[in-house]
Symmetry: D2
Amino acid sequence: MYSTHVGTSSTDAITIYGHDLCNELIGKASLTDLIFLGAQNRLPQESESKMLNALMLGVAEHGFTPSSLAARLTWLGAPEATQAAVAAGLLGAGSVYLGAMELTTKMLADGFAAHPEASLEEIATAIADKYEETGERLPGFGHPVHRPVDPRTVRWYELAEQWGVLGQYGRLLTAVHAEVEKRRGKPITLNGAGTFGGLLGDLGFGWQTVRTIVTAARAVGLVGHIAEEASRGTRDSTAQQLYMHVQDNTDYQA
Amino acid sequence: MYSTHVGTSSTDAITIYGHDLCNELIGKASLTDLIFLGAQNRLPQESESKMLNALMLGVAEHGFTPSSLAARLTWLGAPEATQAAVAAGLLGAGSVYLGAMELTTKMLADGFAAHPEASLEEIATAIADKYEETGERLPGFGHPVHRPVDPRTVRWYELAEQWGVLGQYGRLLTAVHAEVEKRRGKPITLNGAGTFGGLLGDLGFGWQTVRTIVTAARAVGLVGHIAEEASRGTRDSTAQQLYMHVQDNTDYQA
Amino acid sequence: MYSTHVGTSSTDAITIYGHDLCNELIGKASLTDLIFLGAQNRLPQESESKMLNALMLGVAEHGFTPSSLAARLTWLGAPEATQAAVAAGLLGAGSVYLGAMELTTKMLADGFAAHPEASLEEIATAIADKYEETGERLPGFGHPVHRPVDPRTVRWYELAEQWGVLGQYGRLLTAVHAEVEKRRGKPITLNGAGTFGGLLGDLGFGWQTVRTIVTAARAVGLVGHIAEEASRGTRDSTAQQLYMHVQDNTDYQA
Amino acid sequence: MYSTHVGTSSTDAITIYGHDLCNELIGKASLTDLIFLGAQNRLPQESESKMLNALMLGVAEHGFTPSSLAARLTWLGAPEATQAAVAAGLLGAGSVYLGAMELTTKMLADGFAAHPEASLEEIATAIADKYEETGERLPGFGHPVHRPVDPRTVRWYELAEQWGVLGQYGRLLTAVHAEVEKRRGKPITLNGAGTFGGLLGDLGFGWQTVRTIVTAARAVGLVGHIAEEASRGTRDSTAQQLYMHVQDNTDYQA
């Protein structure tokens, strides 16, 4: 016997996480509320729903990235199987670009767990000490383009404050940021990836869920990339152009 | 030189489809509005935004399906790479379960294109004739469980009417439904897949985009499946249970 | 109760397609023989084994292609999950580049089925007539680079002849080639994709298996691409270079 | 300017890793030799070629596994895009089932690097000490079914010896095995995964390449699974049967 709280359906009803899909969710809840239901087994309050949506919207799209280029190149070979292009665009959602998100949530969660009685400043100091000792890189800081400020960080914190969903995770992250800048003696960007991880923590998500949430957001973003390629046709697609460019500019060295 | 309308970023701004991500989208638009922007290059009106969200929410989650089982089985082998589990869960989004969606949009679009001056009833008759001639199966009708009525169909039409976004696609689909029932002499379900395809048509999406939209919705739904597995751990996961069941119940025939 | 002829294992033995893996296969059979076992439920004769290997080797690697670039771009984001990079590189194995392979096998199989008593020349004529009527493109002919001769075609036919595995499929394909050139009045390349599909037919494979065989061959080829990227590191990888190139050469048009 | 040693093609030749595909590889090399070329930039000697083939053949197929079930479930939804089914079957090739392979190669490589002058027994002791200290699990030992002996281990060592390709990696692994059994005071299986990783080391492959090699072998194995499903049709497929079983045996708990 298997069990799940995800969903079931009968002749005249579909039930998802304990809610009647047609009467309680469709038309009332937002698509991203499903994630709240799935990971936390309750519908979000309106402020939580808006914040999760704001966070996911902010990471869904980044223009031409290795990920969206992989999706487009896949589409070029299999335009009849667009689900494969979407999937290909998600597969690179690994440690390099997205690792910082879940690592930030984890860093904060571990900090709270290790110092249950301490102030945020004390935990921040302990975190900075720990990373200094191990030599590991603190997740969530620095950005190749957005320096010294990542505009998403500012906006997300502003909204979290405004909507009353800024909590201990976001505040601890701010304290870590301050501690890091103090030690460095110069500004460093608290980046969007780190803020995403921190504020998801305030919404109650465990670090293990962070990567799947950003992966889902990216899937939404990829729709536009594939639509753009489809509107141009294979011959005039970015993928074809890119392939031709590589063909014409490759030095073959046995 | 490549070109895209998807997005770009500079030191202090991220621009997506012509909108400043932080100031014009985050906190104002919903995640699914990105799809509207991507496929139609404009933000949806509120009613369109709500309808797209309602449609995607209705197809995001179906409990234990071949797709969500594939995601869970993939997670079992690679719990550290959850993007791969999400991707695996999307790869089966092919002709069998989801084909009817895009085919319905296409059937309706082709009907309008072939009979630009005809009434909806005339187009419906022509469509039914055409499928009868070729022997091909009309997409969008019949359901193994939801008989004679798919509850999503009812709900979506109700909302589309209420929000003023029911248009020619949805109406033509109703006419085709009536025509099919007349010819069969008994009720047949206008299913959720067909209705999804029809109402996306009314929101202005071309049939080529339909599959990527449902694929993105599914990615959101898969977050909960992977979270459920993760909360149980590999040993007690549904995937492990399923694997054990197959191990114990397989007859090997060389 | 499930059943399979694929394989099973006990405490001291692993059985695959009726053969003891350790004593009858490892050290005796080649990796690609598994495909023969899987699709035809018997081990190939030596000539068949060599031919299948020669065919797969010939389609495993094509240098920088949309597929291998997608694999490399995926690796760039998730170098810790190389299975995802391999998978991404396979997902574009769709209609555009590989469709011709299975379509050629199918074209030939359909020809034999429709004209069981006819000579190869008569079937070839019937096939050419049929495609002319429907206006569909004959699969297996033409090549953007290898004109008028695809070197793989020549080599594969030579080996098939030499090893005694050239049969009715390969011969009918030659007859179709002759018929097409006669109608066009000028040479056209019988390409590697078509020949691959034809000669797989002579080895007894149904057209439905053709795509998975080439997909498996590609997986083998992708190992070298990922190894090359890994040997350079993310910073100096082709994927990173490609991404930078796109970043620097994109015109954003809202 | 990009550069690669993988391959290139001109009007009348295809060159792969410095070898003319048609004249030097097809008909002479085996498919798996490509992997040697790709990772080590030279063709293997005959003994190396045979050993790599024997290793890959031994890990290509394991009957019904989470991976092959994911491939079959994906095929059920998208039988027209079999490349997606193959890819889905590869995506679970992560830490749980395959991690031990690359970790074994790495453990041995790290052992040699840390103790360049030591005897195999001394290195084995140092390795066992190190894992005992950190409490981490030694990779390559133990098996749920094959106890106390994994038949593949025996066979592969036998062949490696016979073909003259047993080297320092394989011998160190044997020494580690002896050391571990001595410390435990009872037998433990040196499993196939560990042996695979060890003997690949003797063939000159770095640990970073190990996972892609087994992934490619699995792709070959999946051809048979998909062929079996296709031969039964969607309705009678294992995937459909499995899905029905889950449908009928799920307890939904909101």
